[in-house]
Subunit: 154 residues, 2 copies
DNA sequence: ACCGCGAATGTTATATTATAACATAACGTT
DNA sequence: AACGTTATGTTATAATATAACATTCGCGGT
């Protein structure tokens, strides 16, 4: 499990960062998008699109899937969330200003996904793409297994 | 696009390899599983589960989704096919005896997915997992972009 | 050959994830 | 206010995947 003294601080920080980033880039960070980002951040772990939908539903009336997916698309395009392909889920980006060299360590036990950066890894990936004459646009790198905490517990 | 003089040779080779591997491991390589593997190999590219279902449908009567997914699960568990999470599709494994250090270069233009091996990459991934106290079980590494052939054409 | 067990398949139904297509509203610029 | 662009609402449905239970198949033991 992820530890943070006050998770509300994490959420607030994420929203503040998003405010700033969108302001800088002249993007419209609407109430919907903000709300969806807030719900993504409700936990530190991966969140399903339909769980977000359900939570929106209970607060505001009659939100439909396209609304959620559009917001998630916007957030993902701008690096504020990531889609974890292997889980069909979304997770808030913990460092949206430099999220090109990221990968995820996903624990099958506790369900947490840790976002990591490693330029060495990015270098090897670039190099190997290059050797294949391949122009890389996007990399999905998700490692599933058991995290330190869960190993220690067992 | 992938080049092979006679694609039927690729398919036959893949099936023969599968026969051998299953025999060695005492696995039941049933007609269904064989047929599904054959259909996965019908092209060199990624194949959707429901496309396999449709093709089976037209030949044999009334095959249902669970049949296809079960066969694909069997094949994936035994390293004969890979699921490409970012595409929600499946692709035949071109070297099923050593498929632990693999990644895919997926071209968004022609749709081909090239399976590559690179132990250096595997080393960096292992190392970085280890540094995080993470016991890695499975790695999804999919790089999307533009392949050499498509770059040359444009 | 028959039995019995576990593995594989059949079958029905449904869950889950995601998008197409078109209508309306909000927003900023002139 | 009029306009174009961007965002949202709305309806419907597409695409992907699995649960749950019934039946059949293949194989080892007798």
């Amino acid at each position: 499990m992820h530890n943070c003294d006050q998770h509300s601080d994490c959420v607030e920080e994420a929203l503040r960062r998003a405010d700033n980033i969108c302001a800088e880039r002249g993007l419209r960070f609407t109430q919907q998008r903000r709300k969806v980002l807030e719900l993504v951040w409700e936990s530190h772990g991966p969140v399903k699109a339909y769980d977000i939908l359900d939570r929106l539903d209970s607060r505001i009336a009659a939100i439909k899937p396209p609304t959620v997916y559009r917001a998630l698309d916007f957030l993902a395009e701008n690096g504020l969330v990531h889609r974890l392909d292997s889980l069909k889920a979304f997770i808030g980006c913990s460092h949206p200003l430099k999220h090109r060299e990221c990968y995820f360590l996903i624990c099958t036990d506790c369900g947490e996904a840790k976002e990591c950066c490693n330029s060495e890894l990015a270098d090897v990936i670039n190099e190997t793409s290059h050797n294949n004459g391949f122009r890389a646009e996007h990399t999905t790198l998700e490692i599933t297994g058991e995290c330190r905490d869960c190993r220690d517990t067992h």
